[in-house]
Symmetry: C2
Subunit: 470 residues, 2 copies
């Protein structure tokens, strides 16, 4: 690999020029990390192309030399999917960062993969529109990465995950061909849905160089209900009841006491002394109907909690939204020492299973003896269990056991081991477990067949999704 690696890098430089190929150690080190606890290998080079043609040239060379390639944009992956697992190069798409077109009537925006989600939404807001998927990392994360992981976020309870918001793409295949998938239209029935196949494929099938995204008018008004709870079962039951009565919040988040404490100041709220859990439910509505809709949700929450308050002030709501989005970063402050790492879990169950599943997850977090905090997008059943892990072999083992225990709770409750973060190199085993438990391991085989059809030399983001020994 090293020798062909060197010739490949030389050919890349010859073809594309030194300026967009980084090769010195200091330049490469930052690309060994993403937002997860996983450390990648030092890449042989990092390419910074500016267009699809350059990416095509890079992939043709790498395919010829069978050099691994990992695509990376914002680098906010929480499962190690944007770092190299083997010897190989990284292609950063951060220089493809233009908003190309906006069509309000047709409800689409066209942009490149390096556009950060908050930047896109700041532009759309000028027109009273928005792009709904909003991973907590939206300040830093990009369209490219969020498409590649089918990112969810706070508003997925209402608007669904990323897959529901992509109409088409331009993609460079590992063999260098540039293809178009999908169209500028809101629906289409014209052959296989390659757009959908690319979403959540974590850079293993192709590199996205352009995306046609669906946009939505901003909701007219919203207000936030906060309920304070003594126990987690009541939180789960509240959500289950709200959903089965036909109420669909625009946001529904829960968090445990350690999480509340870490962002209480930023949220600027008083928390009753008995509180163990907080449930926040945002309701959107035409202004004329807001109070009636709030009352329905508030009544339900009031049956399971002692105190329920309503916040109507937009600025206060924005602050709380921002504080919640910063919860993962805030938890870093609560580590026992700076060597400790936080593993952010990401399982999901159907709403009706929430109470039972949350109870069991809380139980495992207690009995496995690792400091763990819970929060998540409870409206769609997404639970993040954040495990504080000692960075030792013993610590990793304990973490892996708790993570598997929680994954099994999700699987037993008809859920999945990954809701919105993807598989990366972190969850290959958990994914295998999910399909094994479902008696459907052949599903993974079919995925491998597709991978092989796209990428016969297995150069794209090798080691991600599928377990592969070095």
């Amino acid at each position: 690999m090293q020798i062909s690696g060197k010739s490949a890098i030389q050919e890349l430089i010859d073809k594309l020029g030194k300026d967009i190929i980084l090769t010195t150690k200091e330049e490469l080190i930052p690309y060994m990390k993403d937002a997860s606890y996983i450390k990648g290998k030092m890449p042989l080079a990092v390419c910074l192309p500016e267009n699809a043609d350059q990416i095509s040239s890079i992939l043709k060379i790498c395919n010829k030399f069978k050099i691994n390639v990992t695509a990376r944009s914002g680098g906010t992956s929480l499962t190690g999917s944007s770092v190299e697992s083997f010897d190989g190069i990284i292609i950063s798409t951060m220089n493809l960062n233009r908003l190309l077109e906006l069509d309000l009537s047709s409800r689409y925006v066209v942009c490149e993969p390096g556009v950060r989600i908050d930047i896109l939404n700041a532009e759309l807001k000028k027109h009273n529109f928005f792009y709904p998927p909003d991973p907590a990392s939206s300040r830093a994360s990009t369209i490219g990465g969020s498409l590649s992981t089918n990112a969810g976020g706070l508003r997925a309870v209402r608007y669904g995950a990323t897959k529901e918001w992509v109409l088409g793409m331009e993609v460079v295949l590992p063999t260098g061909e540039i293809i178009r998938t999908g169209e500028y239209t809101l629906k289409r029935s014209a052959g296989y849905d390659l757009t959908a196949l690319m979403i959540g494929s974590e850079g293993t099938l192709g590199i996205i160089t352009k995306a046609i995204l669906k946009i939505e008018p901003l909701p007219e008004t919203t207000a936030k209900i906060m309920g304070f709870y003594r126990d987690i079962l009541s939180v789960g039951k509240s959500m289950d009841t709200i959903k089965s009565q036909g109420i669909t919040p625009i946001i529904a988040e829960f968090m445990d006491l350690p999480t509340i404490n870490s962002i209480k100041k930023a949220m600027g709220i008083e928390v009753p002394a008995y509180t163990q859990y907080l449930l926040m439910v945002d309701i959107d509505s035409a202004p004329e109907a807001l109070e009636r809709k709030l009352a329905s949700a508030k009544d339900i929450m009031g049956k399971f909690s002692e105190d329920v308050i309503v916040i109507r002030d937009q600025k206060r709501m924005d602050e709380i939204y921002a504080a919640r989005k910063g919860a993962y970063s805030a938890l870093l402050e609560q580590r026992d020492n700076s060597n400790q790492l936080i593993v952010i879990g990401d399982v999901i169950v159907p709403s009706s299973q929430l109470a039972d599943a949350l109870g069991q997850i809380e139980g495992y977090a207690r009995t496995d003896g690792l400091k763990t905090t819970l929060f998540g997008h409870i409206g769609d059943g997404n639970i993040h269990a954040n495990i504080f892990m000692d960075n030792t072999e013993e610590g990793r083992k304990k973490m892996a056991k708790l993570q598997m225990d929680i994954a099994r709770v999700a699987i037993r409750h008809r859920g999945s081991v990954s809701a919105e973060h993807g598989i990366g190199t972190e969850k290959n085993e958990l994914l295998y477990e999910e399909y094994k438990e479902r008696n459907s391991l052949y599903t993974l085989e079919v995925m491998r067949l597709i991978k092989k059809a796209f990428d016969p030399n297995n150069i794209l983001n090798r080691g991600k999704i599928f377990y592969e020994p070095d």
Copy 2:
């Protein structure tokens, strides 16, 4: 083919029993037609399995003998995708017709492919929920067929097409393996989205034996605005303006005068004498805000039309909805003779392109000299041009030219040659044209690679989507 065909049928009978294998001519003839003008070949046999295991057995036998297999449920395809194009058998999934589970909180229903859409919705209505995709054929069409073609329908302007409403599936692959895709959860990021890949694949990749469908609470109230227009450009401009001002109707349909005339009685409306086109826009809302929302849309329509009326009575609205759904059948009455066939076109363009595209389509319909009527789900840009075709070689040629002319209008306006009916055997050439014009023929190659990975012997619904000479 004939000899191996015979041995294969014998093996099917030996394995599954005579009762579920039809082989006499009288039994087979009905399976040579679907709802389109296309006539299929007489199948060698029709299998009526009752579960996935039986389908797996059938596919294993057919794969061994390399016998073509076409899956069929309601048989309402408008592009010939549910009839045999070669020598082969048909598997009807109409005996897999159970509603298996309903979970309101988690917002899903589990059902088998033979369930008719209206039957499903009648059940869901009892709980104030519904399954949004509503092809005009929903009385007869099934979950299996509508998933296989990514069906749209009247409500797709608000709720999107079928692909946005499927969480998971059980699928029998052409090689006989039974796999599960997706999960019971509202989002997931766990490997390739095989569920999405199956949707719209028209039975070429596998046979769906179970589906987990997302459901939605019924809208609180709706009302219908009807605008009468002198010209089609004004219809297009109305829709474009409504959408760009952030209004998303729950239904938005247009129709030309011949279509109006064919369903006027069923709709029970008075039509001003100058009328050439009708635009119907349904607005849904919380009851408190309905009048305000109606006024916004009505104002816009009033700028482009002379008369705009509002219908608030639910029974009247239901009648009009049913009449519109019957438009295709009603047009059959307007044929010059019973040998004439109607080819229902199905292109789509982005909203902002509607006025211009509709104008051009109307122009071609006039100059190509074939009786043609226009209607469609204009809210999402979907235009059905219904061509009255003489069933002669000359007639077919003229029809094919007009269909290609209209397809090219759609392609030039950033649209697609198929919105919601699929490709079948009718549109292989149009699909090729679309990718050729986009300079992306390799997209079709990638689809072929996927087909090969799933179906190495090319036994499933051969000849559909991809052009293949006999």
